[in-house]
């Protein structure tokens, strides 16, 4: 087992666990820098391949970290990298959830819950529109997203069907 590489993996990903904000995109640049330039686990091209792969897979985008760990130190690397990125921040949230439940009936906590709802709503809408602004496909991305939103709001159609249709529309329109 490559203990040195495993230690490096821990040193890279534990601090990044606390720096992750959002879906995990915020740390991609730093993961790239460390795994290619600082530790030399892989070439730039190999990193770009892993990034592309992480985009086509289902699940949290942060699974890129699992793939980088695999490339750096095999199965043990994948496990250690995943643990290092997910566990530290998870413990923090777990502690918060614990405290929250204990003080749930306090007016201050109820005010925080109620007050966060309009902020969360604005964030969700803005995040969706931001994704579309930078999405590939230009106007097609807006059209597909609008159609899928309308279908989800107004019908009971399966989201899978909509995802598949989105892919087909893009293939026909753009490929």
């Amino acid at each position: 087992m490559n203990w040195k590489a495993l230690l490096e993996v821990v040193l890279v990903f534990v601090p990044l666990s606390f720096l992750t904000v959002g879906g995990g995109q915020s740390i991609v640049a730093d993961v790239h820098r460390q795994s290619v330039d600082v530790y030399g686990w892989m070439s730039n091209a190999a990193f770009m391949d892993l990034y592309a792969l992480s985009r086509i897979l289902p699940g949290p985008g942060a699974l890129l970290v699992t793939l980088v760990g695999w490339q750096a130190a095999g199965l043990a690397g994948a496990l250690v990298a995943s643990a290092a990125i997910f566990i530290p921040s998870s413990l923090l949230v777990y502690g918060l959830a614990h405290l929250w439940t204990r003080f749930r009936e306090k007016p201050a906590i109820r005010a925080i819950e109620a007050g966060l709802i309009p902020v969360a709503t604005g964030m969700v809408l803005a995040a969706s529109c931001t994704v579309l602004r930078v999405a590939e496909g230009g106007i097609w991305a807006w059209v597909v997203a609008a159609a899928s939103t309308a279908a989800l709001m107004l019908t009971r159609v399966s989201p899978f069907l909509l995802l598949g249709l989105g892919g087909v529309v893009f293939l026909v329109a753009l490929a």
Binding site: P60, G137, R156
Partner: protein, 196 residues
């Protein structure tokens, strides 16, 4: 897989889900959420379909999960799992969301990494991702319908949107300003309602 229950009329389940149910529900989301939009999937699955949480509980959890460091969706899984089943629920929810998806990721890396380089796969996936935005948008619109019950809430929602989308301010600034303001207003409302 069970056929989807009616979405808006699902009755609220009295008994909380078992840890196994939680694990499977999150595993399903981890394995099927092509193109992103995971929190939209979660809201659809847990609030609209299974009625394990109210919309308000889900949305305040979502805001907290985004405000805290860590991967949003994993934070949200821990939050929801803890709400429903305590510590064990938090653990199985986080594992359910990440571990099966990780195993698939490694298997694909070993077996089919060439697929990621195909131009057609790339274009199709951009289309899948655009459709997946619909999941987030419908979540936002449902939440907006709920938030538009007071003028203050509408103002907060609109200012948050404008700050992030049009002014492109850093997320932390916007949330750091709007969240305390909104919470302060909500606190005044809570106090006024209780007549203290």
């Amino acid at each position: 897989m069970a056929s989807p229950a009616p979405i808006d009329s699902a009755p609220r389940d009295a008994s909380p889900p078992t840890p196994l149910q939680l694990f499977l529900a999150f595993a399903k989301i981890g394995l099927t959420s092509f193109g992103g939009g995971l929190s939209g999937w979660m809201m659809r699955e847990f609030v609209q379909r299974r009625a394990w949480l109210s919309e308000g509980e889900f949305l305040s959890g979502l805001a907290l999960a985004q405000a805290f460091p860590g991967v949003n969706v994993v934070n949200l899984a821990i939050w929801i799992g803890f709400r429903l089943r305590g510590g064990a629920g938090a653990l199985v929810s986080a594992l359910g969301l990440t571990v099966p998806a990780m195993m698939v990721a490694v298997a694909v890396l070993v077996g089919f990494s060439a697929a990621a380089k195909s131009h057609h796969v790339h274009v199709a996936l951009a289309g899948v991702a655009a459709a997946a935005v619909g999941l987030s948008l419908q979540m936002g619109l449902r939440a907006a319908r709920r938030a538009t019950q007071s003028v203050a809430a509408i103002a907060i929602m609109v200012m948050t949107f404008v700050g992030i989308f049009f002014l492109r301010l850093p997320l932390l600034w916007v949330v750091g300003t709007m969240a305390p303001l909104s919470i302060g207003l909500a606190y005044l409302r809570v106090r006024a309602r209780e007549g203290t």
